[in-house]
Amino acid sequence: MEHDPTDPIHQFQINRIVPIKIGDWDFSFTNSALFMVLTVAVTAAFLYYTTRGRGLVPSRGQSITELTYEFTANMLRDAAGTAGMRFFPFVFSIFTFVLVANLFGMVPYFFTVTSHLIVTFALAMLVMAVVVGYGLMKHGLHFFKLFVPEGVPGVLLPLVVLIEVVSFLSRPVSLSVRLFANMLAGHITLKVFAGFIVSLSAFGALGILGSILPLLMVVALTALEFLVAALQAYVFAVLTCMYLNDAIHPGH
């Protein structure tokens, strides 16, 4: 397909690689699916390969794996207590998946899985489903105490409950939009500044000289985007832990 190389939106375009159609539904294997598979395969392979030696003294790779593991474990334990450790595989999967998907997006020509709202929304809804499902299973109707904070005067209670319900319902939205918007905006910004370099270079020597500015900007933004990629994965995981804490201890 012909396209302008400086088009900042093109990188989010989904293409069918293997068209699959079931009924009216299009389940084609797309570039998005390809990078989901890559994310999962690379992450799992890395985690598996680095721990193959089961070294008492960890190698460099094993250290990365162990640090990530313990980092996530501490994050979950801090937010949700020891009872929350039953969700450790879930939180660790979410964290590593989002982190690697974000970082993959930083590789040129790679598709950023998390730059599509539907993907982040699905992950957020998965978190919410686990929170509500476990909360109801564990505490039954007591789970709804979550919306009724203690020590609130009776007059204010309906208002507070309303606010709590709205804030709970907006969680999946904020959780998913935060990640999606960060990824999308970051990649667009990068592409726009990179496009300036190309456009300016077309204006001869002066333009090439002037294109140094956006080039420096792109370098700085690339570093920032790596930070954002890691940070947003962390934020997603931390919020997941906090929401899980609500499911485990709804009456707090």
Binding site: I14, T30, T51, F88, P89, F92, S93, I118, A122, V192
Partner: protein, 201 residues
């Protein structure tokens, strides 16, 4: 962004061309699907690929979760557990060794003290026995000397007595001689002895 938008529209129309040509039977319908296909040029909001993305996310994330939960995380957890155990064991062993060393030192110290005490007592004993020996020796010598002194005293007394006895005889002899030579008196021995005795008192 003006330039890029124009380009994007260009690209869209370029793609539209074959689509409308293909589906000439229903141009209106094809037209709507093709705009939906490109979601107004913004792919993240294009619902066309939502089912595909959801399905593949479910598949990949499901497999990922299952892999982590059943294979990878027990493995990492095992490694960490193993290391914790090993460290705990090593620390325990170190602690045991230290207490052993402490014990050994205490035993050594005790033995040293005991030996010192023993040496002390041996020295004391030796000194005591030497002192006792010396005392005994001194007593023996004292006794011996006393004995000798007594013997000597006895002999002196004897000599004195015998000498005194001889003085009597000499006095008698002298008296006898004087009486005879000077006074020409012949006196009997008994008289002389009586006189000497009387004079001796």
């Amino acid at each position: 962004m003006f330039v890029t938008q124009a380009y994007a529209q260009d690209g869209e129309t370029a793609v539209h061309q074959p689509v409308t040509a293909e589906g000439a039977a229903e141009p209106l319908h094809e037209g709507t699907t093709s705009t939906a296909e490109h979601g107004g040029g913004f792919p993240p909001f294009n619902p066309e690929y939502f089912p595909s993305q959801l399905l593949w996310l479910a598949i990949t994330f499901g497999i990922f979760y299952w892999l982590l939960k059943t294979v990878i995380m027990p493995r990492i957890g095992g490694i960490l557990e193993n290391r914790r155990d090993r460290i705990a064991l090593d620390l325990e062993a170190a602690e045991r060794m230290r207490s052993d060393a402490d014990e050994a030192q205490a035993a050594y110290q005790q033995e040293l003290t005991e030996a010192r005490n023993r040496a002390h007592s041996i020295g004391h004993e030796a000194r005591e026995s030497a002192k006792a020996d010396a005392e005994k020796e001194r007593k023996r010598l004292d006794a011996e000397l006393d004995e000798k002194l007594e013997a000597a005293q006895a002999r002196i007394g004897e000599v004195k007595r015998s000498a005194l006895g001889e003085v009597d005889g000499i006095a008698r002899d002298v008296t006898d001689t004087i009486l005879r030579e000077v006074a020409n008196i012949e006196a009997s021995q008994d008289e002389i002895a009586g006189a000497v005795q009387a004079a001796g008192r």
